[in-house]
Amino acid sequence: MAIRDLLWSCPLCGLEGGLRRGKHEDVCAGCGARFRRGRGSEIVVETADGRTERRPAAEWAALLPAAPRPGGAGEWRRERVFARFATGEAPVYRGGDLLGGVERLGPPLPGELALTAEDLVLRLDSGEMQRWPLDRLTAVQMSSGTLQIKARDEELTTFRFPDGSARLWEESVAAALRARYRAAGRGDIVEFQPRIVAR
């Protein structure tokens, strides 16, 4: 994972998804500030005008808004991704004891992911398309730098964002789901994993 996952919005200029992968650091596409890790959990920021600021990660994170700003009726977000679809599960044993199941993931497939107020849409470079209506999502989470979604009666799908922030997407999908549940009178979502629960 990367600093752009912690700081899914630039703490200096406020651009959501502003931090993009640079050569050795993350760089804000809005204000040009460069972010790198310092000592411990310190994040060192060099602004475009030459200033340097050092703060603990928690202090930078505290400057972020509580959630991404919801989008309008149309497309809210779009990003290049590598998608992997679970094809089943493999059992895990220790000695003769079954410990559980581990998802088998297919190969990474390049494409573009888009989020609207109603759904997530994946358009693969191969031309195939897959759509997940937000109402059918049963879980949303980040894991090992990827966004994982689970829809009703479907297997797990993961998305890796080579240049963007998986966490911004997790927060954005969560915000879209909250808005949708409230608008539908289904209550406030209190959990997103292991499954979406609203009260």
């Binding site: 994972m1 004891d97 292991p194």
Partner: protein
């Protein structure tokens, strides 16, 4: 078990390369009998470190994606980890936990369910709270401080930093066999667990701060 013991020794011997390690309250971990060790989660290093410190074998719940790949798929079970699928209700992980406890083993669970992004304590996973009420075994609260400075979630790479791990006195919780009873006890149990973990974490934080002031 030989491999597990080897890694315990390796981590204990090698940790000084990462930084100073302080351990408090290890005597609170029972030498015999089942227990649930409930800890906060700041870093990928937490389970490795806690397992190395606790002399008894500690079975640990880990996310299922940690078991993918040939090497990790082989290694994780031998490190006494068992998978939990975090994107769905996973009764198998509960069964495995209860099976270990019935055998008299200790099981480690990270109550936040995932690593903290900013190092601060996050709300508890209610599934863990339900597990505590279903199991009815002593809970050892554990605070791990400093691993966020060594290896935070948002960066690959180690930095040297002092770490402190603190274990609190065992806390008994009732065994509630009926789902309705567990749901009714959920809020108070969650609050009690988080208060216990927070107490250990804050103690560990203070130990690190006082060490920094002395230097």
């Amino acid at each position: 078990m030989i491999l597990y013991r080897f890694f315990q020794h390796l981590v204990r011997a090698g940790w000084p390369l990462i930084g100073h390690l302080e351990v408090h309250g290890l005597e609170n971990v029972p030498e015999h009998g089942p227990f649930l060790l409930i800890a906060n989660h700041q870093s990928i290093l937490d389970p490795i470190l806690v397992q190395a410190i606790v002399r008894r074998p500690l079975y640990t719940m880990a996310k299922s994606t940690q078991f993918t790949g040939r090497v990790m798929g082989w290694l994780m079970p031998r490190m006494l980890a068992f998978p939990v699928r975090r994107y769905r209700v996973d009764p198998q992980s509960v069964r495995v936990t209860l099976r270990h406890l019935a055998r008299g083993d200790g099981v480690g669970v990270y109550i936040e369910g995932e690593r903290s992004w900013d190092g601060r304590l996050q709300p508890p996973r209610l599934g863990t709270v339900r597990l505590v009420l279903k199991a009815g075994v002593p809970v050892i609260p554990c605070g791990v401080s400093g691993t966020y400075e060594v290896w935070p979630r948002w960066h690959r790479g180690l930095r040297r930093a002092p770490v402190c791990v603190s274990f609190g006195a065992p806390i008994p919780f009732p065994k509630l066999d009926h789902r309705a009873d567990r749901e009714g006890a959920l809020p108070n149990t969650a609050a009690a667990l988080m208060a216990a973990v927070r107490e250990q974490l804050e103690f560990a934080d203070r130990r690190i701060e006082s060490r920094a002031l002395r230097r």
